[in-house]
């Protein structure tokens, strides 16, 4: 195993190397985005791609920007890389404002969605390009390129043109090329979207390994919620130019703050409820069925008459008798590992329960069955919107 420590090549002391700013005093946050707005176009065609976004990304963190296309996640990444400049706000790298710097003066590297490998260079030349531009001695470049080739297991293909290698291999070269100059922060713009399912799974593990081994902060952009959940230390969910929630994958999944977050990540049941007895992040929610359940409450929740409560399908249980909710089965869908049972509630709402399958028995419910649904403590979350 090759272990690479940060700072062995880029000096950690303050100063500049070839005009590349090396930050003073590494702080706790690798990147701090403060009140950044980005507006494209002019006049009537103005579109705010980012609407006053603030977020802090910690050192050595695998941080994911998650959201549907057009939510502004790639724009934010491009602002950090220096390909675009914010209309307003600051971007700090280890406490220093890098917003006015051109991309070639930022110790930040990017893995492009299209990989953007130079077609007129070999694999090794691609990987060495950044170091060459930094004016490193030849011997050092060669050693580093060899090290990177080994890290991404591409030694055998180093003399190939980038057009002569497969998509997965191009992906590895793109990674090696961006990691070679040992950036403070690595930006990854949907780097796995062009790969097929199996390769994508492999690369997810590979990326995690590389992040762990290099100790570099990764900022990863994706629209794939599963990818985000499996790989990230923390996730920022974005929509329409805003960051809606930042948290660990568990936080995001189990305690979504807003309807969009709950809906975008995984499957969810939405129920209308009256919320009372708030305190300590918890409350008592009275559902339409009259049942009262204990629920966690999203940060920033403002007390109101009618709130939305979410329950994940696997956190609810289907019972033959009476539960917290009651209704009748409308559809039973088999998924291999589990079965989804769709229920029409007496309140008129729809509810889905996910039930783990066993090898021998069926799920035990059929369309038309009158059923109850019991919701355990800590299964429900009250949204703020």
């Amino acid at each position: 195993m090759v272990t690479i420590k940060t700072g062995t090549h880029l000096p950690t002391r303050a100063g500049s190397l070839n005009g590349v700013i090396v930050p003073e005093q590494p702080g706790k946050n690798a990147i701090e985005v403060r009140g950044v707005r980005k507006v494209f176009g002019t006049g009537e065609n103005q579109v705010a791609a980012l609407d006053t976004v603030s977020v802090s990304i910690r050192e050595n963190e695998f941080f994911t920007l998650l959201g549907p296309s057009g939510c502004g996640k790639t724009t934010l990444l491009r602002l950090i890389a220096g390909f675009d400049f914010p209309t307003a706000g600051e971007i700090l790298l280890h406490g220093q404002d890098i917003a006015p710097l051109p991309p070639f003066k930022r110790p930040v590297n990017t893995v492009f969605q299209s990989y953007a490998l130079f077609p007129h260079m070999t694999v090794a030349q691609n990987i060495g390009f950044g170091l060459e531009m930094l004016g490193k001695p030849k011997a050092e470049i060669e050693a580093r390129v060899a090290q990177m080739l080994k890290l991404v297991k591409m030694e055998a293909l180093k003399a190939r043109r980038t057009s002569q290698i497969s998509g997965g291999q191009q992906q590895r070269v793109a990674l090696a090329r961006a990691l070679a100059p040992q950036p403070k922060v690595l930006l990854l713009d949907e780097p796995l979207s062009a790969l097929d399912y199996k390769l994508r799974k492999e690369m997810q593990i590979e990326l995690k390994r590389l992040q762990h081994e290099t100790g570099i902060t990764f900022i990863f952009v994706t629209h794939d919620q599963e990818e985000a959940l499996t790989m990230s230390d923390r996730i920022a969910v974005m929509s329409a130019g805003k960051i809606l929630q930042v948290g660990t994958p568990r936080d995001i999944y189990d305690k979504p703050a807003e309807r969009f977050v709950a809906d975008f990540i995984g499957e969810t049941n939405f129920l209308t409820a009256a919320v009372a007895d708030m305190g300590n992040g918890k409350a008592r929610a009275t559902l339409k069925s009259g049942a009262v359940i204990e629920a966690t409450v999203a940060d920033g929740f403002q007390p109101k008459d009618s709130a939305t409560v979410v329950v994940r399908p696997e956190h609810a249980k289907l019972v033959k008798g009476k539960g917290d909710l009651s209704g009748s089965v409308t559809n039973v869908v088999y998924f291999g590992t589990d079965t989804h049972i769709h229920v029409q509630l007496d309140s008129g709402e729809a509810f889905t329960v996910r039930q783990q399958n066993t090898r021998t028995a069926g799920c035990g419910f059929e369309v038309g069955d009158a059923v109850g649904i019991s919701i355990g403590n800590d299964a429900a979350q009250v949204l703020r919107d």
Binding site: F83, F85, P100, L101, P103
Partner: protein, 265 residues
């Protein structure tokens, strides 16, 4: 805050702007002086159409223009037909023996300086003239057709290569014979390319000085060779007037060409 633009390169915009200004300035001056009332081509004597009038009454100019059009249209049509057939024969196929040869042969006139082709045709056609006694327009038409073929071939081939083969397979699947497929599917889709090729060939033929100068027999002056003769003798605003009219025609054809070839998608 210093804004960094990915696409900016220092000085490039200035050079490009200068190039465009310099490209058009002489043409504008030429056109303006075509409307000069003074006989001298250096002073401005007021607006006048008299040089257009004098060119219009100059039978040599009219004859040369007619001859240019005659040669240009015949050569362009012949070159376009030959180029269309050649394009059909050299595109959308697995490489076969002789394909590279065909590419090289069709593009060969582009690789030879006009003066060399001119000399070669002068020698060859002078032999043929002695042998057959024929000294008509055939020589000029043959020469023009030959050097127009690679130009006509260019847009037709490009169009064919961008064409969706499945359309023809679909036609064949719907019981069309190869000829019906060509007539009803291939040709209508290819039409903009053919039109573009035809216009290019016509302009190229109209443009030629060198090869015509060497191939023409006595009394076979095209408009460019007539103009060259006049310029050699000394310049009068009449040349400006003829040039302006010629320019107008070129711009009209180029505009048409531009829209035909841009409308491909």
């Amino acid at each position: 805050m210093a804004k960094f633009s990915i696409k900016h390169q220092p000085g490039f915009t200035a050079i490009a702007t200068t190039c465009f200004v310099v490209l058009y300035m002489p043409i504008v001056v030429l056109v303006v002086y075509a409307f000069n009332a003074a006989t001298s081509t250096s002073e401005w004597g007021g607006f006048s159409l008299k040089w257009f009038q004098s060119a219009w009454q100059n039978t040599q100019v009219i004859d040369a223009t007619l001859l240019s059009f005659q040669i240009g249209s015949v050569a362009a049509v012949l070159a376009t037909i030959a180029a269309t057939m050649a394009a059909l024969a050299t595109t959308r196929t697995a490489p076969y023996r002789g394909l590279t040869f065909k590419y090289a042969a069709i593009n060969q006139p582009l690789m030879v300086p006009e003066i060399v082709t001119g000399v070669a045709l002068l020698i060859f056609f002078s032999r043929v003239k002695i042998f057959t006694g024929y000294s008509g327009l055939g020589y000029l038409i043959a020469a023009h057709t030959a050097f127009c073929i690679p130009f006509a071939y260019l847009p037709i081939r490009a169009r064919l290569e961008n064409m969706d083969l499945t359309l023809e397979r679909a036609a064949a699947d719907l019981y069309a014979t190869p000829w019906q497929t060509f007539r009803r599917v291939t040709l209508p889709l290819l039409w903009p390319g053919i039109l573009a090729g035809l216009m290019l060939a016509f302009v190229i033929s109209l443009d030629d000085v060198v090869i015509t100068e060497f191939v023409k027999s006595g009394g076979q002056d095209t408009l460019p060779t007539y103009m060259l003769g006049q310029i050699r003798r000394g310049i009068t605003p009449e040349i400006n007037a003829i040039s302006t009219a010629f320019l107008l025609l070129s711009v009209a054809i180029v505009t048409l060409f531009f829209f035909v070839s841009r409308k491909q998608d």
